[in-house]
Symmetry: C2
Subunit: 249 residues, 2 copies
């Protein structure tokens, strides 16, 4: 089976690496950014091209959501299976006369950060059972956590991930902004952050809530508001309001 990965960003790099590490041969990595492709190609020993897309049985499109539709039109081989890796696009965004599918890894990818691929949940959608089987077999070589999905379900999976990952990371950015402003090293907070996350492996987050809002400690809430401004103050008010609503305070 000839497999081609399209893209040269974080997802393309990590999927290509996971394929190579699990002895799933890649016929080509294809994209526009020659510098990035060249680096991936050298690191993983996969042929690359920016011009001639190879004939393949399976194309995995790993480009930003805005580009999936355009890029999918480059695939002209009719007897092929095409998957995209986006959390929020239907498989029908793929535009061409081939079989359409989804190969969605639920993880946050940065090229500079190594990952344990075997723990990544993969969500699969396809037009028929045979294609599902193909994608399940490939994903199962990488991860112990492969599931079927639907577009409806995947939208909510992605939305949950935005709260649990993207927004959490932004809170770390705003937290660091506060500690930096007082020359307090952000490293001091890493044991606390690690513990916050370890806790929810064991306890429902709703039961694990601590802090001034859930204690309804008005004195501290007011003190904190005086220390904040602009977006951080908005976040402070919105989060406290949401906490107090959840616990009916």
């Amino acid at each position: 089976m000839q497999i081609v990965i399209i893209g040269s960003g974080n997802v393309a790099f990590h999927l290509a690496k996971a394929f190579v590490l699990n002895d799933i041969p890649l016929a080509q990595i294809f994209g526009r950014n020659e510098k990035e492709l060249n680096q991936i190609s050298s690191a993983l020993k996969i042929p690359y091209s920016t011009e001639k897309l190879k004939d393949a049985d399976l194309y995995i499109v790993c480009v930003s959501d805005n580009s999936v539709e355009n890029v999918s039109q480059l695939i002209t081989k009719k007897d092929s299976l095409v998957a995209h890796t986006s959390g929020s696009l239907p498989k029908e965004i793929l535009t061409g006369e081939y079989r359409k599918s989804i190969f969605y890894p639920l993880q946050t990818f940065s090229k500079s950060k190594e990952l344990e691929y075997e723990k990544i949940p993969f969500f699969i959608e396809a037009e028929n059972e045979e294609d599902k089987k193909i994608l399940f077999e490939i994903a199962s070589k990488i991860s112990g956590n492969v599931m079927e999905s639907t577009y409806e379900k995947r939208k909510y999976i992605h939305l949950t991930a935005v709260f649990a990952c993207n927004f959490v990371n932004h809170l770390f950015s705003r937290a660091k902004e506060i500690s930096d402003s007082q020359e307090i090293p952000f490293e001091y907070f890493l044991p606390l952050i690690d513990e916050t996350v370890q806790k929810i492996h064991e306890i429902d987050p709703k039961s694990a809530q601590t802090g001034p809002a859930v204690r309804n400690d008005k004195r501290i809430l007011e003190l904190h508001e005086q220390l904040l401004k602009d977006e951080s103050l908005e976040i402070y008010k919105t989060m406290n309001h949401s906490i107090q609503k959840m616990y009916e305070l």
Copy 2:
């Protein structure tokens, strides 16, 4: 040196346990809640009382912020050092004719969750060098990370912790609410959450930001807003606005 811990909640329990594990003798654990005190006393083999506060050299007040002032008035021994453990109260909230100080552990505590005490940063404040030395020595038996602080600095440490811990945990609660609504097991998101946190041990959170807001993907932002309501929608809008401000989008 006779040391007494006052309180029977999460902080009192974990500090008492850290003292016992590090061979720092405790003369008594004192509080109002006999059931909780009895459990801590049995588990850690420390005498407890709900009525007669023992004469001691050091009292560590581990009660909720609202109770620190009242509880501190129970301490009548003049030649003693009294510390409280709150992130947001000045040491002057302690009301009595004794030496006042701070013994602030930067961590989130739940009785049911074990902790690595040696990693907890402790922040110390006292009226004089001798008292500082006493508290440094005790904290250093528990943790490798003991520092002097000031009230001004401690306020910002606590505020940073609210963003990096309390608000992060609340995002997990709201995320779980979304996944629960679609019968998607929240366990699927744990590898993603773990990775989100591991990343900031290596990369500045501002550089690690991913997701639709930082990509300015208006289609997804609108789609997500349609899936949300009430407090979760408010959080969604506030966080995206803050992300887009930070990256000047």
